[in-house]
Symmetry: C2
Subunit: 202 residues, 2 copies
């Protein structure tokens, strides 16, 4: 049994990840902290550091959050780009950058990207661009981690559980059950994968 | 003959691109403006807008700049990440975002990424991550451009002309002549490619 930190635990992706973490002691966190053990704002490096200091010893981080702005490219402001970058990209980079100071030897980070970087749709360019950044980040940073720490990223298609929200903007996509995405998180946390982009698509 | 804006004209990559632009009227620009027709700071959206307003009518933008911080991941600060992001990533996104308002119908943007996103080396993680962001950006934004505007990105390996500077940190890499990279820019500007990552590697 490992001590696993799950960020975004109350979201749909967090609940999907949770189905793959049944063998572990799960510490939950989210931006609001509501119904979670801890509060963390991944867009703020001070919040990240304070969080890891508070939690103490842990073996794995599973992040399921990364807020994106959805907009047509020509209408998207620099500010909208930067708010996406600071959450889905810089936020996740900072989770690994700061978290690697605190995580136990042989621990793992599992990040989140999303299939829209290989299957583009209108409005989602900032999501797609930052997802590719994180996919490449996971591949590269795995080569630099000390103390046998591993880093992977789960790149899922849309969840069945979120199809009512996203289905209309994703014609021709096949949603997958959250439990299948949970298995990708499980393979990352419990396996020996490292520097891998774990696609879950149908 | 097209009117082509070349950004970073005095750099080694700019000189490589220039070898492929022999059929065109080339307007040169750089951060300092030294020995160039214009000055532009791609990290500042106001500088970008002022630049396009000054230049007037044009058919193509070829960008060869994107400043990156080189550092081991565990030693790289958020500030170093953000300065790389604001230049190589946000800067190039802003060139297209603002430039598409000013470019002629059927014009083209050619951006720059770099081979280290598929061939990682120590110290270059921020370069690699932002290069992947720009590769995906070009693929996605091409699907959204109005008025038959095209967008491509050249993803080159190291230049022979820069081997004395970068060779030591890139063991096992085969540099390519600037003229070969120039042909990639030529194919983007003079061809009909769109949303393409044009790799130049050996």
């Amino acid at each position: 049994m490992k001590k696993v930190i799950l960020i975004g635990a109350q979201g749909k992706m967090g609940q999907a990840a949770l189905t793959g973490l049944g063998n572990h002691q799960v510490i939950t966190a989210s931006r609001s902290g509501k119904d979670c053990d801890y509060q963390i704002d991944i867009t703020d490096e001070n919040s990240i550091r304070a969080f890891f200091k508070k939690v103490g010893s842990f073996d794995a981080v599973v992040n399921t959050v990364g807020a994106c702005e959805y907009e047509h490219f020509v209408d998207m402001s620099e500010q909208q780009w930067l708010s996406t970058i600071m959450s889905k990209m810089m936020g996740q980079i900072n989770l690994v950058r700061i978290g690697q100071e605190y995580i136990n030897d042989g621990g793992s980070f599992t990040l989140i990207s999303g299939i829209l970087n290989v299957k583009p749709i209108p409005l989602a360019i900032a999501d797609a661009v930052t997802s590719s950044a994180i996919d490449t980040f996971a591949k590269c940073v795995a080569l630099e981690m000390p103390r046998n720490i591993r880093v992977n990223v789960v790149n899922p298609t849309v969840l069945e559980e979120a199809w009512d929200v996203y289905g209309e903007m994703m014609p021709g996509f096949q949603p997958v059950p959250g439990k299948l995405v949970g298995k990708a998180f499980e393979r990352s946390v419990d396996g020996f994968l490292n520097g891998e982009v774990i696609f879950v698509d149908a």
